[in-house]
């Protein structure tokens, strides 16, 4: 009798312990994500601060409990801008059971597009190439595509060009899929009525001197150079232009050249490298900058300070870029949890698709809300134009949407 009572007590105790120790559903879970990008090698000047942005925001999420008692685990792998390594990292992440993939380069995304669709995993890339969205339906661009940025710059030129003639532009692009990405849409916009003439498309090499190129462009009457590349070739170009006295002192100055560029051409690195030659450089992106004071400035700088980042990283727009990608991923997880759903790839895909209308997400880091739907794969649709004035990027006008590209 005594033995039976003892065993009964043990069973009750065991059941009690099991109840106490078993966590409630979805509480204390860790959600696995993965980021593969170029921390070393080509484009690492952008990849390095980007990775730090993702890392810091993920740490903030875990440290401050943005997801309640749940955590995020986002290992970051260097792929050295090599597609084969990106693929290996991706397969590794898939083996680990990630629910969302943060990817990087245009080439890597295009190469993995088939895999994204087969695995049915939501992907947020650092590349804004519209073609990735066409290639894989699980890709969600964080901001306006390169095409939108480029056409947006073209529209600004067309609207603000002085004189009755057609503005003559040259396209200065990176010799890769990334560089060529917006050309077709830009040409289509011109065919659709955007008033300008493309005089020359220049795929730059690794030139250390662009004097001949600039003289040629000027002799052809080029007044605007639209850049879609990374910072260093633009720095060489604008430095040479300043040396030759070809840089416009005001927008569209006659007989001179005004330089404009898309997201990866600008930022503080451009100013640091080009110095006074960067003055008057027009740049567009969907991100807010720390050089423009606002609530986001203190928030971003505090975040960087909290995790021991240097001033350069803290003020980098690619740091902002990384933070924003992480914000969107975490917000999708938060909303999925809030809806009482299990955080899976399919659920996150659905949550991201519903991120529109009154459910649009407004992070501090962008000039407009993040909206996605089954037919809209571009997060922030609006762009902000900036210009370098007295050694810092300053906003020009209000955020806008290109009219010739829907």
């Amino acid at each position: 009798m005594k033995g039976i009572r003892f065993r009964g007590c043990m069973v009750v105790l065991a059941l009690g312990l099991a109840l106490v120790l078993t966590p409630p559903a979805a509480a204390g879970e860790t959600y696995k994500l993965g980021l593969s990008l170029a921390i070393t090698g080509p484009t690492s000047d952008a990849g390095n601060p980007y990775s730090k942005g993702v890392e810091d925001y993920m740490r903030l999420v875990n440290d401050t409990g943005i997801l309640g008692d749940a955590k995020v685990d986002c290992p970051i792998r260097d792929d050295m801008y090599e597609t084969a390594v990106t693929k290996r990292n991706f397969e590794d992440f898939i083996d680990q059971g990630i629910v969302l993939f943060l990817s990087y380069a245009t080439g890597g995304n295009l190469a993995l597009a088939q895999d994204f669709d087969e695995v049915q995993i939501p992907v947020i890339p650092a590349s804004f190439h519209k073609g990735i969205v066409d290639a894989a339906k699980y890709v969600f661009l964080p901001i306006a595509s390169y095409s939108h940025q480029y056409v947006g710059l073209g529209e600004y030129v067309a609207k603000n060009h002085k004189g009755g003639d057609l503005p003559k532009v040259a396209c200065f692009i990176h010799p890769s899929a990334f560089g060529r990405a917006p050309l077709e849409d830009f040409q289509a916009a011109i065919a659709a009525g955007l008033k300008m003439e493309i005089v020359e498309v220049v795929e730059h090499g690794k030139d250390l001197d662009n004097s001949a190129l600039l003289q040629r462009l000027r002799s052809k009457g080029v007044q605007y150079v639209l850049c879609q590349t990374v910072q260093s070739p633009v720095v060489t170009l604008i430095n040479d232009s300043q040396r030759l006295g070809l840089t416009a002192q005001s927008f569209g100055e006659e007989g001179k050249i005004t330089f404009l560029g898309a997201h990866y051409t600008g930022g503080n690195d451009l100013i640091a490298l080009a110095g006074s030659a960067a003055e008057g450089f027009y740049w567009t992106t969907s991100y807010r900058l720390t050089s423009e004071k606002g609530p986001w400035t203190a928030w971003q700088l505090d975040l960087a300070k909290k995790y021991g980042r240097d001033e350069k990283t803290a003020n980098s727009h690619n740091y902002t870029n990384g933070i924003m990608a992480a914000q969107v991923a975490v917000e999708a997880i938060r909303r999925t949890r809030e809806a009482g759903q299990e955080v899976t790839r399919a659920a996150l895909y659905e949550t991201l698709n519903q991120m529109n209308g009154d459910k649009a997400y407004q992070p501090l880091t962008t000039v407009g809300p993040v909206t996605y739907s089954a037919t809209d794969r571009m997060g922030v649709d609006t762009l902000q134009l900036y210009v370098v004035k007295d050694g810092a990027f300053r906003a020009v006008g209000e955020p806008f949407k290109p009219e010739y590209l829907k």
């Binding site: 070393t40 890392e55 084969a84 290996r88 590794d92 080439g107």
Partner: protein
């Protein structure tokens, strides 16, 4: 020849034919058979992750490519620093065909062994063409000629719209007897295909080296004038060395394209040519086992450095980027130290190890 064909101690060859045997003893043959058996059956018992299967497949593809590089650089003594371009020729033969006729055309998805072979022959054709300057050039001059080919290849792929200007050209999933090879079995399927290819190519190279054509390569490397005086044709030998290298590279390129389900320019740059050369040197130039050891060593080293950097990143201060720098620094340092202290490559360790057992119980 030793009377005991199982445990022969020392060399007792009485004819050249005996010396040219692939396996010196029955034990060699059995061990090799067991090794092959192991390579074929381990995936049935061990469930490797996709990442690891990808790494293993990459190693085996590199083995096939390095067979070619070892033939031209190791055995024929002709330096080639454009080997990735030859691999690219094979890859783009397949990818270009897919672009022209559709990535799911029956030729791509069903006749894939034929496509791999065609890619190999295309590589051979380009190899022979690039090898033509070798008839008049040597050493650094020849290196520059092969480098030029690498640059021409880069330009062609990056600027021609037919090749999608270097962007990924996709190829469809292939079919096997059991139907379409899906994502779940993709890496395992290609493991077996690449393994069979690597074994067949390896035996092919081994047999080539037993023939007069193979010995011609070595003779021309050692002294082309002497080889000429002995009745060989040094020029033709050099051209066919390049053609053979191109063939193996082309095969490797096609396998790469099928395994990665497409071809993109990033995988065939000058950097990759240097990596192939490093594999051949670290493995052991002019040795067949070196073609196996080199790719294994380099790929594993790269992976380990990646893990070490990641681990170091957990405690090194983030502001100094030390963890990031650790990987290229460590990788480079290991290669340099290796070249300084073991210039004959890992194959030399293998030779020492074999010699020890061959002479055992005697010390020399």
């Amino acid at each position: 020849m030793s009377a005991n064909r199982w445990f022969a101690t020392g060399n007792f060859y009485t004819t050249y034919r005996q010396e040219q045997r692939i396996f010196t003893t029955h034990l060699d043959r059995v061990l090799f058979g067991l090794f092959l058996f192991f390579l074929f059956v381990w995936p049935l018992f061990v469930s490797a992750s996709n990442k690891h299967m990808l790494v293993i497949n990459n190693i085996l593809i590199a083995v096939v490519a390095v067979y070619g590089l070892n033939l031209v650089t190791g055995f024929a003594g002709l330096i080639s620093i454009g080997h990735a371009a030859f691999v690219g020729i094979g890859a783009y033969t397949l990818a270009g065909t897919a672009r022209a006729i559709g990535d799911s055309h029956v030729l791509i998805t069903h006749a894939w062994p034929l496509m791999i072979l065609i890619s190999g022959f295309m590589g051979a054709a380009f190899g022979a063409f690039v090898g033509l300057p070798a008839m008049r050039l040597k050493h650094l001059y020849l290196a520059i000629a092969t480098l030029s080919f690498q640059m021409i290849f880069s330009w062609t792929i990056n600027f021609m719209t037919f090749f999608n200007q270097g962007q990924m050209i996709a190829v469809g999933r292939v079919f096997w007897i059991s139907g379409q090879v899906g994502r779940n079995e993709h890496y395992l399927f290609w493991y077996y295909v690449i393994l069979v290819t690597a074994v067949v190519c390896g035996l092919g190279v081994r047999n080539l080296l037993r023939t007069r054509y193979g010995r011609c390569l070595v003779a021309v490397r050692d002294n082309d004038r002497a080889a000429d005086a002995m009745g060989m044709h040094p020029g033709l030998t050099k051209v066919y060395a390049f053609a053979l290298a191109g063939f193996f590279a082309g095969i490797a390129g096609a396998l790469h394209t099928y395994m990665f389900r497409g071809a993109g320019f990033e995988s065939f740059t000058l950097h990759h040519s240097i990596i192939y050369l490093a594999m051949a040197i670290v493995g052991g130039l002019g040795t067949l086992p070196g073609s196996l050891f080199g790719p294994v060593a380099i790929q594993i080293l790269e992976l380990q450095m990646e893990h070490i950097s990641e681990w170091a990143g957990t405690f090194l201060p983030a502001t100094m980027n030390l963890a990031t720098a650790l990987r290229p620094l460590g990788f480079g340092l290991v290669i340099v130290l290796f070249l300084m202290f073991e210039p004959r490559g890992i194959a030399n360790w293998w030779r020492i190890c074999r010699s020890y057992f061959k002479l055992w119980p005697f010390r020399y």
